[in-house]
Amino acid sequence: MRSRKWLLAKEWRELMASRAWWLMLLAIGPLVGVSFISAVTAYGELSGVNGTAAGVGEAFSPLIGIWAPTFSACELAAAFLLPFVGIRLVAGDRQSGALKIELQHPLSSMTRLSIKAAVLMAGWLIATIAPAIGVALWAGYGGSIYAPELLTVIAGHLLNAGLTIALAATAAAVTEHPATAAIVTLTVTVGTWLINFAAAVSGGWWERAAAFTPTAMVAEFQRGLWRADLTLVAISLIVAGLALAAIWLRIGDAVRRRLRRSAIVMGLLALAIAGAAMVTASWDASESRRNSFPEAAEAALQSIKGDLRIEAHFAPEDPRRSDLEHGGFRKLRRALPRVRIDYVSATSVGLFEQTADRYGEIWYELDGRKLTSRVTTAEGVLESVFTLAGIGAPPESDEDVFRGHPLAVTPRGAGVLFYGVWPVSVAALAFFMLRRK
């Protein structure tokens, strides 16, 4: 226990002595500032024009209007700044030779890595003081804060930071030089973007894989949806990344042994991901219930006993498919986890399929009964399913409609805080801490 405490203290001092970390801290304030100020400005302008009304309420949800853009600066920092902090902390020990000394202690390599990761996460939490200032400013303006949706956004970004730390640790452990580790990390990041691109063009398995990329994961949390499968996959990737780093940082192991152990970790990771992907539990933490049908409709859907099958004839790049997926099918999957939805198309854009029979049609099938529709809205999906099931659509209640929280304010004081006070404070602290011996 004493050794762990000393190692924790040492890692903390190394983080405080890391110029990469101080630079990240310096940059994240103005980055968050740009996002927050433009978000509040747009929110205020929209609120001041027409106020709100049923049907446009979501435009005045702080989740979409404020938290998602403000915290998106964290996503940028996690992709382009945090990896260098992680690589510096992990590769620095190898470069300086400290690793050869520290690893002669019986403490396991995984424990060492976990302590390092915990310190890096603490460093990231300090960096998230910047968006926390945004939250405080928003509250000061009189803005509404719905804690569950805000916490969900924060959780998504914490998981994303965890993934970045694990990736950086793995890259720093596997490669001999920090520059190579940085290239590997950025290559993986760009690789996940390519998967997202391939998913948008080709659909199918690419689409399934793209759902688990950090970008897609963060997007789900930013919509206020806490998905158990994404959380479990992210945690599995973090643990596997740290385990791989621990394997490659151990001293005295032959490459063949390391490869064998890495293969075991990868095998276990594949099993964990496959298992996690089957978990359908999710929690809509958004105040506007933007990821769910109205409660009465969900209750009615859950009374359907048969297996519902849907075939949607849209190409991956057809905007109607996106409307259908995000408006109706996502909500339907949450309400009816047994539903099977397949997309069918011959091309990726669908431009030359428009005249083909069936293109643009959505086929619903329940216990042998069939129904075809072309409506891509959430209401259209609900109506089709209820008609097929022979259930009367539950009456809509005015109470179910999210009215939003319009707030016609300007981001007063934010510029001074993010562009002035933050950089000056961080620079002063860095000057003091970097001189400390």
């Binding site: 004493r2 190692l7 002669q104 001293i251 005295g252 192991d253 011996k437």
Partner: protein
């Protein structure tokens, strides 16, 4: 497996290859408890590779290392925790490896490190860094310490002082194995010697045993005759 009484480390048939290059070829020798053993060899003779194999940094291709006590390997040419002060680094090593109370002060005094305690490791000269590193090795309180080139970068006076400090720790029960390429330095501090050249052991024994075997009068001549 533990070596016999009086022997705290036994290396048998240790072989290490880098691709087609055989860096160590069936190296065997013993280290006796409480002695200062000098591993003597020219640059490129395999001293560092041998230490890294014994210290567990490199995997062995063949052979066996048996130790009856925990050992610590102190590498050469490293500057660990460059942004930390010498004082904090020594605190860390003492705490991390669980050094007994009083050892830190004894090591600082023996290696004359008091004036360096507030300096960053990354800003030390080569000789200062070497002394700080030796302090790290001794602070681990492991009974057996393998130090790679402990006198490299030290001037004559520092070499004599450090040699005396190492001998005093050996008298207190520590066993030291020192890799040295300067034969005069080795003769000054070591009880016994292992001569290494081209990855093989060319001789092992005390100064008188080696000079008798080589029919020479000095360690330097014995080394040249046997390697």
């Amino acid at each position: 497996m533990r070596p016999a009484d009086g022997i705290c480390l036994r290396v048998s048939g240790l072989t290490k290859r880098y691709g087609g290059l055989r860096a160590l070829d069936a190296v065997s020798f013993e280290v006796r408890r409480g002695e200062v053993l000098g591993l003597i060899g020219p640059n490129g003779s395999g001293k560092t590779t041998l230490f890294e194999c014994i210290g567990g940094v490199l995997p062995l291709d063949a052979g066996r290392v048996e130790a009856d006590a925990a050992l610590f390997y102190l590498p050469d040419s490293i500057a660990p925790w460059p942004s930390q002060s010498v004082g904090w680094a020594l605190d860390f090593v003492a705490g991390y490896f669980g050094a007994p109370s009083g050892l830190r002060e004894a090591v600082i005094e023996a290696l004359a490190l008091a004036p360096l305690l507030t300096q960053r490791i990354g800003q030390l000269s080569k000789g200062q860094r070497k002394r700080a590193l030796l302090a790290v090795g001794l602070l681990t309180s492991r009974p057996l310490v393998l130090a790679d080139e402990p006198f490299d970068g030290l001037d004559l006076r520092q070499t004599r002082d450090v040699a005396e400090a190492l001998r005093s720790f050996a008298r207190d029960g520590r066993t030291l194995v020192l890799s040295i390429h300067q034969i005069n330095d080795a003769a000054r501090v070591c009880d016994r010697f292992v001569l290494l050249s081209g990855g093989t052991v060319r001789g092992e024994g005390t100064l008188s045993e080696l000079t008798a075997r080589a029919h020479t009068s000095t360690l330097e001549e014995a080394f040249l005759a046997l390697t």
